[in-house]
């Protein structure tokens, strides 16, 4: 794993081609977002489908601070993280008592409402036109090159990984994983379920906000089109395909789902189908039994005289 990160750094240092720099930056940003989402989805087992919305909140916060007040990047990133976290708390606190799928619907609804606000609150967000000419990050007189943002992102990524790793080894991490594994058991051990769920949500949105700030200053342009439901879905896929709950899995997921569609760009529209197929086959293969299922199907047809009784067990783990 360390090798991968090292390679990442080396490659980031070596490449000159602006397109690859951009791709590597996007991969870093999405790895960051996926790792943040992993805290909620992977470790705590909550189906948050609005990660892109928190990403957007962070990006807008940073964009507004940078354009209206000329705030320096460290203020931007912290403010973006905090504002995004506040939204995370506002969404999370009242809804986290809901069961998995209802929670995901609330998050989808939240993201949609937020998008409508982004589009309609023209005086603040400049509506669908977005905010342009966001100043880049500068330290003293040194203005970040596009490449520098990869390292900026990597630093934050390392922070997330460190925090996640430390937390997983502590009381907090154990409580979160207990919630994921068995809420009732967790409750019976005196774990305050709601508190820890909100905590996970807050941390995840906090880091997503950071990613948003980096992204806004990198592209110098934010608009509602950049933070849509598809992005949230893709992020969820990154976490789950990469290995939800593992420390580095989401990074794999991010790399695959960023680079593979890009490699397939020549394939035009077919690549979107490919992404869909990756989602389907990836999950089916991951949950296993798919080939067994197909095999069983044909076997059943061959021995069709034997009636299959209660076949719903064939997918049993």
């Amino acid at each position: 794993m360390l090798a991968l990160l090292l390679a990442w750094i080396v490659v980031a240092a070596v490449i000159k081609n602006s397109y690859f720099i951009h791709m590597l930056f996007m991969a870093t940003t999405y790895a960051l977002l996926a790792c943040a989402l992993n805290i909620v989805v992977g470790i705590t087992g909550l189906a948050n489908m609005s990660q892109a919305a928190f990403f957007g909140i962070g990006a807008y916060t940073a964009a507004l601070l940078a354009t209206k007040f000329g705030a320096p990047f460290y203020i931007n990133i912290i403010a973006a993280a905090v504002v995004s976290m506040l939204f995370g708390l506002a969404v999370g606190a009242p809804t986290l008592r809901l069961k998995g799928f209802y929670l995901s619907l609330v998050t989808i609804g939240f993201a949609q409402v937020l998008r409508i606000i982004e589009i309609n609150w023209v005086s603040l967000t400049n509506g669908p036109m977005g905010i342009t000419a966001i100043p880049g990050v500068s330290i003293g007189r040194y203005l970040f090159s596009k490449k520098a943002y990869i390292f900026y992102g990597l630093v934050v990524l390392l922070i997330i990984l460190y925090v996640t790793k430390r937390l997983m080894a502590s009381k907090i991490g154990r409580a979160l994983s207990a919630i994921k594994n068995d809420e009732v058991a967790a409750k019976s051990l005196g774990i305050n379920i709601t508190y820890y769920k909100v905590l996970a949500f807050a941390m995840s949105s906090f880091f997503a906000g950071m990613a948003g700030s980096i992204y806004a200053q990198y592209t110098t342009f934010v608009s509602p089109d950049s933070f849509v439901q598809n992005d949230s879905t893709t992020l969820l896929c990154m976490v789950i395909l990469g290995g939800s709950g593992t420390l580095f899995g989401p990074i794999f997921g991010a790399i695959v789902l960023i680079f593979v569609p890009e490699i397939l760009r020549f394939a035009d529209m077919y690549r979107l189908i490919f992404v869909g197929v990756v989602m389907i086959v990836g999950i089916l293969a991951k949950e296993g039994q798919w080939f067994a299922h197909v095999q069983k199907f044909f076997k059943d047809r061959l021995t069709s005289l034997i009636r299959v009784k209660s076949g719903n067990r064939e997918g049993a783990v």
Binding site: A3, F20, H22, S226, F266
Partner: protein
Amino acid sequence: MKKTSRIIAILAMLAILFTMAACGSEPAAASSSAGSSSASSSSSSASAPAATEADTYKIAVALALTGGSAEQGNEVRNAVKLAIDDVNAAGGINGKMVELVDYDDQADPKQAATVANAIAADESILAVVGHTNSSCTLAGAAIYNPAGIPQITCTSSSPKITDAGEYTFRLWNSDAYTAQVHVETIINKGYKNVGMIYENNDYGLGAYNVAVEKFKEAGIDILVAESYLLGETKDFTTILTKMKSAGVEAIFAVSDETELPMIMTQAHSLGFYPFVTSTGAYSTTVLTLGGAEVEGLYGATFFDPNNLPEGVAAFYDRFMETYGVDAVVSPAVSGYISGCILMDALKSGATTRDQIRDYLDSGLTFDTMVGTLQFDENGDVTIPLTRMVIKDGAFVGTPD
């Protein structure tokens, strides 16, 4: 087993990363072209005559080829292709063929930035036609300008594009001019009770602001004005019911060719028959989708459809024949003109990015099928509009 697959995964990742590092100095191979043998040194700056070593001139289109605005994007792409095919059929330029490279931004600014970077990295690409949506055009401009790639957008109308940078040009009308033409249509007809429907984007908002001002000058207040989300709002009955009960007689609709027929159809199904003039009227999509419902709809176009200028008819025929469609829309016209202007630039000997930019910005006038055009100091043009109306299922020019 699990461990093995993990190791394989890590190796694969490393492979991707190192491949990137290794070919970090080569152009992106995202094109539809056969070989990217035309690798040029990464150290060469944008102004270096890198492309002259290549055996083709490459022009990129970066448009919404899929997703929300795919319709317009594909029209423009096909039109540019036609302009290039013309040149290639005539033996190319200086013995070299012109090659078109497609990039799809999916109407997503993030994707627009990605393809813009891909284009910037491919030193052999001389100029870009794109993007479709204003948000994407702006996201792209933020990359093209520092990289020094001339960009022409054929559909984006945001006022911000005017200041997007010295490498960004626009072959499309500003909001203000378009809106003014439509407002005058309504005023000339003598309507006093006016409503407005507009897309909630820079285009719609810009037009709305102009319309409010122009109507006010004529002593008219807009009774009902509502915006909607392009590509998402499909039900206009609520807006139309409001207008009907407010007594609206004439509507200025800033809508594209997909929504406009829906607005007309839905109005009529409410028993509401207002006078409508719209920015999106001049499109055969309106005719095919709207059928009898769009009779009497007013619009504005680059030229009188009954009296096509020389060259336009030929372009129409070729476009329709080549792509098997039965109509041509305005973005196709501006796309074709953009393509032609870029070809002119190449023919004039402008064969680097900077030379093409200088050519566009030189104040030259271009004789195009919509008349004589000239990029102003901000890289904008004004394409004169004429009014038209739909009569018996066809577009007819009208003086009023």
